[in-house]
């Protein structure tokens, strides 16, 4: 089934009042950010999407795919599920080898030759992590960052899902700028739950959450997109600093001053 569009039909916030935003439509290739303070209902919103809510979750929202109620097959057969949801879990519970886990998952999602799929996933994931993931380690041995990197790679390559939901990947301990660059090579619908201005300002739209409800839906202006690029530059400087300190270098005030001036120039 070709996915062209996903629709969120508003339900009710925690106070029982109807959500301000009653409908959000996203077309193929579009990026949406979900923003709002902790506890405002961001994760619940993407969980609603991931579960194809049909007025059967606490928010009473509904999700439509291509303007119609989603097929029950989406929930019963992972091979038909068009959504990959990357939750905030940074630990695995499965006491099995990475290679075995990926083998089974590739079989479940019916993705081509498992050997080449596993190699592709490892290659993708290891571009995002500090220390590379080793296929012979068990899932439970992976660090938080390695787990998230593996899940992102798994969603893109094994899931090959047209709709990808990512919950706060900025907290994942992975190289975020690299992750965004790699993800955007794929033509998909991306929905990010995020506190990160880089992600938000580079999205096409953002939903602002409050009290469990969708409070506002904002289209990113061209001006905001330009600001987003500057914020990304600023972040590169911070990441550069972080990497140097992490690798044991000493910092000098004079040098820091020069970096700050560079920031002002941009």
């Amino acid at each position: 089934m070709e996915i062209k569009k996903i629709t969120i039909l508003g339900g009710y916030g925690r106070n029982g009042e109807k959500e301000q935003v009653d409908q959000v439509d996203l077309g193929m290739g579009e990026l949406l950010s979900v923003v709002g303070p902790t506890g405002s209902g961001k994760t619940a919103l993407i969980n609603d999407i991931g579960l194809f809510a049909d007025e059967d979750t606490p928010s009473r929202r509904r999700i439509l795919i291509n303007d119609a109620a989603p097929s029950e097959d989406f929930l019963d057969d992972p091979a038909k599920n068009p959504i990959a949801l990357i939750t905030q879990h940074t630990g695995f519970l499965s006491d099995m080898k990475v290679s075995h886990f990926l083998d089974i998952h590739a079989r479940v999602r019916k993705r081509g030759n498992p050997d080449s799929v596993v190699a592709d996933i490892l290659d993708f994931a290891n571009q995002l992590t500090g220390e590379p993931i080793i296929l012979d380690s068990t899932m439970t041995e992976l660090s938080g960052g390695q787990s998230r990197a593996l899940l992102i790679a798994d969603a893109v390559i094994i899931g090959n899902s047209p709709i990808i939901l990512l919950d706060e990947i900025e907290n994942a301990g992975i190289n975020l700028t690299r992750a965004l660059e790699m993800l955007r090579k794929y033509e998909k619908i991306f929905i990010f739950v995020t506190h990160d201005p880089r992600i938000t300002l580079s999205s096409d739209y953002r939903i602002v959450m409050k009290g469990g409800a969708m409070q506002d839906a904002i289209t990113t202006s061209p001006e905001e997109k330009r600001i987003g690029e500057k914020v990304t530059d600023m972040d590169k400087i911070i990441v550069g600093l972080r990497d140097r300190i992490s690798s044991g270098e000493h910092m000098l005030e004079k040098e820091f001053q020069a970096i700050m001036e560079l920031v002002w120039l941009t």
Binding site: L75, L85, I86, T87, F92, F101, H105, V108, L151, G159
Partner: protein, 231 residues
């Protein structure tokens, strides 16, 4: 009347699932009664009686195996429910991994938690393989990829329907409710689906010495197959 038999390891969320199911079925106008079978303590009957207002009973199996106890009392419990014109929901103790409490013509539900380890489906035998539906709970605690691999491991062990739920928040329960509504009425005679393994041995009877040399009946050594010793 419909007979719903629910099994599953302790803490897997059987009660939470059934509570959500009962609440929805009552709203749809179904009449229900609840029986809890447990070994030495249970207070779920009070919850179903007080919070949901349905007739509820509990049975302690004590020295008996709880699934054997369920076989003994279920005939009476079905009559009890029939007399009041209700369906019967039975929540079992969920301790034994060799027996299964399901009855021919009942709807057997096994509740498994997504966090319980990938090999669980292969460890629990008849409790899973003789069920009609597996409900996987606590899905909010694991990644989608792990959920999908866990589902595959269940389907490798048993060809049954798998439904995923976050029972605390009532997510995924409506689909289970629809399955229950479609379940057939029970027919007599009531017959247990699977045969329980041998239940009477010298260990059951209270002889506690360690080592097969001290016992009679069907025995085995560390390296041998089963053999019989006795009169």
């Amino acid at each position: 009347m419909k007979l719903i038999m629910c099994a599953g390891p302790p803490t897997s969320g059987k009660t939470t699932v059934l509570r959500q199911v009962v609440r929805r079925l009552l709203k749809k106008g179904r009449r229900l009664a609840y029986l809890k079978v447990d070994v030495q303590f249970a207070d779920e009957d009070e919850l179903f009686r007080n919070e949901l207002g349905i007739p509820a009973k509990k049975v302690y199996s004590g020295e008996l195996c709880p699934d054997h106890a369920s076989v003994l009392v279920l005939g009476d419990a079905v009559k009890w429910a029939e007399e009041q014109g209700t369906d019967l929901i039975v929540e079992t103790a969920g301790l034994c991994l060799r027996c299964a409490p399901y009855i021919d013509g009942s709807l057997g539900i096994v509740v498994l938690e997504a966090t319980s380890g990938m090999n669980l489906p292969r460890k629990i035998g008849a409790m899973l393989t003789l069920a009609d539906i597996a409900v996987v709970t606590k899905i909010d605690l694991v990644s989608q990829a792990e959920r999908e691999v866990f589902r595959a491991n269940i389907l490798d062990a048993a060809q049954i329907d798998v439904l995923e739920a976050d029972a605390l928040r009532g997510i995924g329960i409506d689909r289970l409710v629809r399955r229950i509504e479609r379940a057939e009425d029970i027919k007599r005679p009531l017959i247990l689906k699977g045969s329980p393994p041998v239940g009477t041995c010298t260990i059951c009877a209270g002889k506690k010495n360690i080592g097969w040399e001290h016992h009679f009946g069907v025995l085995r050594t560390l390296d041998s197959d089963l053999f019989y010793r006795g009169e």
